[in-house]
Structure formats: structure tokens, C-alpha cells
Symmetry: C2
């Protein structure tokens, strides 16, 4: 039987009862002959409690000391789960990040995985039924303990799966990926198979559940990822190579981002350094600029783009700076916009998607201000008040 | 200025206020140019809370999983103390057992230190003012996390001091070593200097504060140990080489163990295998047999010995087993005895100690049943109800 990597998040291991239930279900799988590598997060609430202690001690703590502290959370979970598994008669070895040979590089609290000691893991799996590995953590080349940042435990699981060439099952409190957010469109359909590219596009466009970084690793190593609900029999979502997705549709999903700023710049001089100055500042402030469109002519040029609503303050500041050196430019920025996107690898070789989407929005009386397309997605900027209705129209039109 | 190793126990780092106060006092020392290696235990209560969780999960958890769990306690303390020290502007590096290169051997929860990475510690001290090292923990040659058993953080501190050739200061909630327990003899005098051998004898005979194992390491490497009260100006006790102890007295201290069993065996056959069988079982059950005296003659032999009162159950079981194969032997065991001891390296070359002690007990009307002597101690078995009075008589006689 094939071995697997499984990952359980913080709410899945939120208390000892849940840990016991998960242990029982893992035991059932080992009885069938499977060997498992189980990656766990800190028990729900633990990390927050530790961070709140830190804020009581210092207004500006150093990242290396915070990482050292919060990683005790996962170390405790692996101990507890291992104790319960052994109690059920399952041969179990618990491993922290450094014990699993998870080598990282980059900042202490946003590290990336450089290497995993595959031999160490496979040797340990030889002598045990289950390895319980602490997610979210590793050690850098100075032997300092580091954390992997947002979605870190998912990354740990997928990276181990990639390194050991096993499929990866990620369990959370949602039962898979939906074609669009069920809170936005109540008839949203669950997706049982989706390609890496589609999933990355959906994650990037706001459909959470799993970070693009983890999907990227899985794609590069052709490791299938399953997303499912902890301890549920409900069928979840497999993320896999495009050729393996059985049910091909032109559009797989729709996403909604309800907090978008639309900015427009008009500058009479075509040879101005404006764009260079502006985008240099955006880069410095790590502002993600999206959906850029530009019209240039003899009388200057006009540039429109969208950014996240949360970056409004930074944008205003940069605009004020730029206006000092480019006094004759004209700047506007409006909030209360939403971005609606449809995603599907099928767009590549199925025509008529753009016109069908246009007709759906038009038929619902929804005006859009800007549109951009990638190879497997189309996005529209609409008024914020029309965001949900736009998703509903598109979901109905494409049977999502 | 000489660098030092300092150790703070669980009650000394019991809450964040205490951690902040300790950090302030450490900062004051670094300002004077000192560099420090600070070993800390888990915050008071943390280890017990973790162990209580374990007992909720399994009646028979494995040592390796427990060790992995409880070591998160010290890892949290080193993080917190480092965060506060950095906040005070002290360059600080926190190190877990594996990061400090503390290699161990033996059982996961009663490991002994095999090696410490001195170069790693001294290099880190070069770039920092303070290293904060997790006590009580290390890694074995399988890279598994281990704990050092009772008094483990003291052992960590003394072993680091021995490895780096620095003096070691151990801070607890008592202000040093007393010639006898102040709870037993209210006029007990504090000892400001004591030799390694005397301290080991006192520890072995029941005067707690520090485990013999730590003193042994200090003795072998001629590392002076200071025992003092956390954040107090009171002068504590230096444990050092005998030649460096200035104030030489024949008797340095007195100790009392109030829970002693006196066992006596009578066996008519001199060639019996009884003793062999009995002591083999004691060894198997890890029972410490003390104060053995034997009288052999043509009509068999009589053997008396003492053991700790807590071993009563095991002793009864072994006696029952032995009686099966040695049916004509006669066994008795009585509790309610106490062992009173006087300790002092001065006994070696000062005569009259035994007779003076005898006169002191006799003068107080205290009967003793058995006596044993080592090179630097004399012990007496007395009735439990006379234990405290015996110590008072001896303390008064020898000016303790």
C-alpha cells in the first residue's frame, strides 16, 4: 500500500478529545498496512497565547527569539499525539523540525525550506508505523530554530511529500474547495478535482484554504494534494496535474475580492519618469499592483490599476510624494470596488468564455470598469455593491 | 573580568516579573564587563502542568515522548528571558540543549551528559553578552531529545562551567547551605565555604539543595560552585576544593533522615546463598542499602541494614520471595527510625570526633542502634522520635 503524508491544522488538534479521535482514525489506516507521516500544527490558541506573552515582555522582540518560543507549540502537539498513538499500540516516532532535517533559509519567521532529510524520514518510517512531525518549523544553517510563516504547516507537509514522493492529505475544518465561496453563492458546487494552475490562480485571487507556495511545491514534484475535512467521510478536493483532472470544464471556479481600490493617473508628458518613480515606490513598500491598463497618445498617457483596499494609506502617501516632483500630473483613487474572477485551465482551448462571461454580467445589469485576462483566468472590476451579484451571475452561467 | 555560568531554578523564574528582575540584575553584571552563560529551568509549575496532561492521555507513556514534551518548558523560559534581555539592550543568544551541543547517553528521562560543544558556546559568547541555555535537556546520539533527571538543570550549569572552565553560581530560594537544617535546629549556622567531599556527603545524607552528581562534576574539574538566594544580597555558600576552605572545623554539618527502616536477618546456615540472593534482588529493584553490619559465627549469621522508608513495599515483597527458598531464616523489619549524621573533612586529621558525638547523644539520653563511619562522616540510627533532638545535641556540641 502507498504511504502518505497527512497534515492536521490547529483547530483539528484543538483539544485532547480531537487528538484522541484523530489518533484512532490514524490507527485504522495503519492496521490496513499503510505507513504515515503526520504533520501537525500547534493546538488551536496556543500560538496566540505565546505571542500575547511576548507582547507583555517587549514592544519590539527579535524574530529569532519569537520563533524559538512559538515552535514549542508544535513540539507539544507532536508529543501529545505520539503519546496517544503509542497508547493505541501504534509504533510512533515524534520529530521536531531539526530532527526531521528540515533546513531553512531566510528570515527567522518567514523562512523557506531549503532541504529535507529524506533518508532520515524514510529510515524512521522503516521502524515505525507513524512519524509525527512538527509543522511550521525548521533550522537554518546556524542551527537556529525558524518558522515558515503563513500556511507554514501546509508547506512542511507538502515539502515532505515532495521529498519522499508520497501524496499529501491536508485536513482542516472545511470540506474541500468550492467553485465559488458558498457564503457568496449558496448553490456553490464542491470541486473534486482541480489542476495545480487553477488552484494557484484561485488562491491568488482570494479563495483561501491553501497558500500558493504549497501548491507550487506540489506542482514542481507532481505530488497530488487532497484537501478535506478532519474526521469526515465527505469527499474533498484533489489538486493534481491537469491531465489527471477527469471532469474538464471551461471554468472551474469563481473568486471575489470585495476590497479593491481603483487608481487612475493622467500625465501630459509622455517622456516623464513618473511610472518609474511610482513603481519603484510600490516595490519599496511591497504594494501589489494588479490589473494595470495604460493608454498612451501624443497628449500624454493615462494609467489605471487596482490595489488591495488595505493599502489605501500607503497609496495616499506615495501619491503625495510623487505629486511633489510631478506637479502637473493628475491622480485619482476610488475605493468601493470589487474584483470578480473566473478561473479555469479549460479557457486555454475552449473559446467563448470571455463573451459568455460578458453576457452574464451584462444580462444582470452589472457594469465593469476594467478587465484583465491571464491564460487561465479573467477578472473584472465592478462596483463593490455588485460584487456578490456578479459572482452569482457568473456561477450560474458556468455551472459552478 | 572572569566570565561565569549562572543557573536559575523554576521558582526563581516563576513569573514574568521575576524574569524581568533577573534580567535587570544580569544586565548590571554585563555593564561591568562580564560575559555570562545563564542556565534556566522551566517556569515554576510548567513541568507539572505538562506531566498532568500526559497522565490524562496515557497510563503508560513512553519516556522519549515525555522528554520531548517537558523540554518545551525550558525552551519557553529561554525565549522569554532572551526577549527581556534584548529589550534591555543586552546582546543575547538563546540556546536549547541541542543548540548548545549538549550530547547525552542513557535513558530518555535520566540521561547523563556525554559531551558539551565548548567551541560552539564560546564562539556564541564572543558575539553576545549573555547566552541563555535551556537546562535539564540534551540530545542523544540518535538526535532524540532527552532530559537529565532530578537536579538536571544544576547538572547542565555545572557541566557547562566545567567544559568552559568558569565558576558556577546556582540561585534558588534558599540562601546557601546550613550546617544543619534550620527547620530541625533553629540556631543552625550558614556555611560560607565547604569542600566538595563534605557537600557530597551532606547531599547523600539528606541535606538537599544540590545533587551529588553536580558536585562530582565540579570536583573533577575543580570548578567552584556558589549556592545563593535569587536576587538577594545575602552571602551564600561556596563549594570548592578542601584546601581553599578557609575556616576548617572537625565537623562541618549535620544531617537528618527521618524515614528509615531497620531490617535484620538471622540465618542458621553460614554457607547459605541468602546474602547473594537478597542483594541481587535489591540491585534489580534499585533499592539503596545503607549502614550494613554483620555478625557471623558457628551458629549462623546476623545481618542488619537500613533502607529508605519509601522502599517498605518493595522490601516486604523481596522478603516474601526469599522466605520461599530460605524457609529457616528469620526476618524482621522495623520502621520509625531516623538516621542522624555528622559530616566534616576535618575528621580525617582531628581525633575525638566519634567520642564527642557519643557523649553528646549519651548526655541527651538518646539511644542508638547502629553506627557506621566513612572517612568524613559518622551516622547513627536512633528512634524516629529522637531524631530532631539528636541533631540539636550534635549541632550544639560541634557548634553548627
Amino acid at each position: 500500500m502507498e504511504n502518505s503524508v497527512l497534515k492536521f491544522g490547529g483547530t483539528s488538534v484543538g483539544d485532547f478529545e480531537k487528538i484522541k479521535e484523530i489518533a484512532e482514525s490514524l490507527k485504522d489506516r495503519t492496521i490496513l498496512g499503510e505507513k504515515l507521516i503526520v504533520v501537525v500544527s500547534a493546538m488551536g490558541g496556543t500560538t496566540d497565547a505565546l505571542l500575547s506573552n511576548v507582547s507583555r515582555l517587549s514592544p519590539a522582540p527579535k524574530d529569532d527569539h519569537i520563533a524559538l518560543l512559538v515552535t514549542t507549540g508544535e513540539q507539544q502537539t507532536i508529543s501529545y499525539l505520539s503519546i496517544v498513538l503509542e497508547d493505541l499500540g501504534v509504533r510512533t516516532k515524534a520529530m521536531t523540525g531539526f530532527q526531521a532535517g528540515i533546513k531553512t533559509f531566510g528570515g527567522h519567521m518567514k523562512s523557506r525550506i531549503a532541504d529535507i532529510d529524506k533518508a532520515c524520514l524514510l529510515d524512521a518510517l522503516e521502524e515505525n508505523d507513524i512519524l509525527v512531525v512538527a509543522g511550521f518549523q525548521g533550522v537554518n544553517d546556524q542551527n537556529e530554530i525558524t518558522t515558515l510563516g503563513r500556511g507554514g504547516s501546509d508547506t512542511t507537509a507538502v515539502a515532505i511529500a515532495a521529498s519522499c514522493d508520497m501524496p499529501c492529505e491536508i485536513y482542516t475544518d472545511v470540506d474541500g474547495i468550492y467553485a465559488t465561496d458558498p457564503r457568496v453563492y449558496k448553490d456553490a458546487k464542491r470541486i473534486y478535482g482541480i489542476s495545480y494552475d487553477e488552484m494557484m490562480e484561485m488562491s491568488a485571487l482570494g479563495a483561501g484554504v491553501i497558500e500558493t507556495r504549497s501548491i507550487e511545491i506540489a506542482k514542481n514534484h507532481s505530488i497530488p494534494i487532497y484537501l478535506g475535512k478532519t474526521l469526515s467521510d465527505e469527499k474533498g478536493t484533489w489538486i493534481m496535474q491537469e491531465t489527471e483532472v477527469l471532469e474538464r470544464k471551461a471554468v472551474t471556479g469563481a473568486a471575489l475580492d470585495e476590497d479593491i481600490i481603483l487608481a487612475t493617473i493622467f500625465e501630459p508628458h509622455v517622456d516623464s519618469t513618473l511610472i518609474f518613480d511610482l513603481f519603484k515606490r510600490f516595490e519599496e513598500e511591497a504594494i501589489n499592483v494588479d490589473m494595470i491598463s495604460q493608454v498612451a497618445g501624443n497628449e500624454g498617457f493615462q494609467l489605471s490599476f487596482t490595489i488591495k483596499g488595505t493599502e489605501a494609506g500607503k497609496l495616499d502617501q506615495i501619491f503625495a510624494e510623487i505629486q511633489m516632483t510631478h506637479s502637473d500630473m493628475f491622480l485619482t483613487r476610488e475605493k468601493d470596488f470589487a474584483k470578480v474572477s473566473i478561473i479555469g485551465s479549460g479557457m486555454r482551448d475552449m473559446s467563448g468564455v470571455a463573451s459568455k462571461a460578458f453576457m452574464a454580467l451584462n444580462g444582470s445589469g452589472i457594469k465593469f470598469y476594467q478587465t484583465t485576462t491571464s491564460e487561465i483566468s479573467i477578472s473584472y472590476v465592478v462596483d463593490k455593491i455588485h460584487g456578490k451579484h456578479a459572482v452569482e451571475s457568473l456561477a450560474a452561467a458556468f455551472d459552478l
